[in-house]
Subunit: 269 residues, 2 copies
């Protein structure tokens, strides 16, 4: 068994109050795949350009991540550049270069289509649906998103959400999607779109699961110094699905514990 | 046994996006005393003016709150008026009329001086110290505060803090006091001032206890609609000390459970 993870694979140039680093390994699928690999074998689906550093391919390999679904295309790897404010909660995008991502439409290898656990990490919702269309009867499908898609691809996202077992978003995205200030009222509205489980990420304030057994309020791991929060949310979801894949028993028996593991892995990110 | 609670007893005129209500029962000691009364007998120490409505005295009595320490003086009851923004996290003060509070210096009845559990609810730190000076060997002393005292009475507050078993403040006050952005770094600095337990209130994000056994991260009770958050923090601390007073075993064995009870009582406030 293993976990299929599709999402962005990127190079991030990040400036924080503590440091400035160019062309770090980034992208939702990179963070999620590394996080999930601590629990389960991972098959990564994504695209990079010919400029993608070999050391990052080696890093994936070190984590035993299956790269059959990682396309290497002529052109440049998706590049994002951003800057964090002092409190680490606010960031602004300085630069976005799509590169080979602009024309990416993943075709899954045959062996990938029967994987039971699927993470549609943050990427355009049309691509998330495109991947899901190729899957045979997955057991558990979870998707993450970001404010960008709520702004420019809401219709695509609303087509995807009813097909999910679990949907993950952060508190401001939940507010944007539902127009509800209260997070519990927002959760109720997101459930009406279809997913059995809805998880709201609140950064250093932790996360909230809403499901058939009610709420589960999960703390973030207590960190005394946050150097760079990029990818923490992706790592959380990656750790979560990686643990779920290995755990015995039903999703409902394990998803709360999976959130705790996700939080711990995210703290290392 | 019982709990001694000193703090403000006031009339609050509050405007929220949902309603506007004049001269509600308010004040840190009022909220804390009612909350604690669900667990333990309470002795209230405070001051009101001759205009204090009888129905509020009856409300205290209904909760079997001992009013021997509640002075009724010629003049007006402390009156606060404030307005909440839509998200309920930000409020601004419209009016503060100190009234009889301006010259209040509580002298404790003899029977009050031996009470083992003491809550110094939010009030000027010089008055909190004045009350503490009159107590014989209390078993557990917990104090709350507010940004106002950090601004205008920091020296008094810094004299009080080392005398406390537990100190309660909210996240922005912790930042103001320690100059630390990270809440766990702030907690470490507050411990250095003396208290064995430090509790940081984070409103709808819950609260964090730091003590000899490490951290305890406590969620807020999930509310779908918040009508008026005034007094929720006071109710939390009131419920906490009320439960501690009745629980068997050591403070350290019970303080985590006490925070859960405090959160639940605060949700009713």
């Amino acid at each position: 068994m293993s976990v299929l993870i599709v999402g962005s694979t990127a190079l991030d140039s990040i400036k924080t109050p503590h440091a400035e680093n160019p062309r770090l390994l980034g992208g939702s699928a990179s963070h999620a795949a590394v996080a999930a690999s601590f629990f389960s074998p991972v098959k990564l689906v994504g695209v990079v350009g010919e400029d993608f550093p070999k050391k990052y391919v080696q890093l994936y390999r070190k984590h035993r991540i299956d790269l059959e679904g990682l396309q290497i295309l002529p052109g440049k790897t998706f590049h994002w550049s951003g800057e964090y404010e002092l409190n680490m909660n606010n960031r602004r995008t300085l630069l976005t270069e799509l590169g080979v991502f602009e024309t990416f439409t993943p075709t899954l290898p045959k062996a990938h289509q029967n994987i039971p656990y699927v993470l549609l990490a943050n990427i355009a919702p049309s691509l998330q649906s495109h991947v899901l269309n190729q899957m045979q009867r997955p057991k558990f499908v979870i998707a993450d998103t970001m404010d960008l898609w709520l702004n420019i691809a809401l219709a695509d996202l609303l087509k995807l959400i009813p097909r999910l077992d679990a949907f993950v978003l952060n508190d401001s995205e939940a507010h944007q999607l539902t127009k509800e200030d209260n997070v519990f009222a927002a959760l109720k509205k997101v459930h009406k779109l279809g997913p059995k489980y809805v998880i709201i990420k609140k950064g250093s304030h932790g996360s909230i699961l809403s499901g058939p057994r009610g709420f589960f309020i999960c703390p973030a791991f207590p960190l005394h110094k946050v150097k760079d929060p990029t990818g923490a949310g992706d790592s959380f979801v990656g750790g979560l699905i990686g643990y779920l894949e290995t755990a015995r028993g039903s999703i409902d028996q394990n998803i709360r514990r999976a959130m705790i593991y996700g939080s711990v892995v995210a703290s290392f990110c």
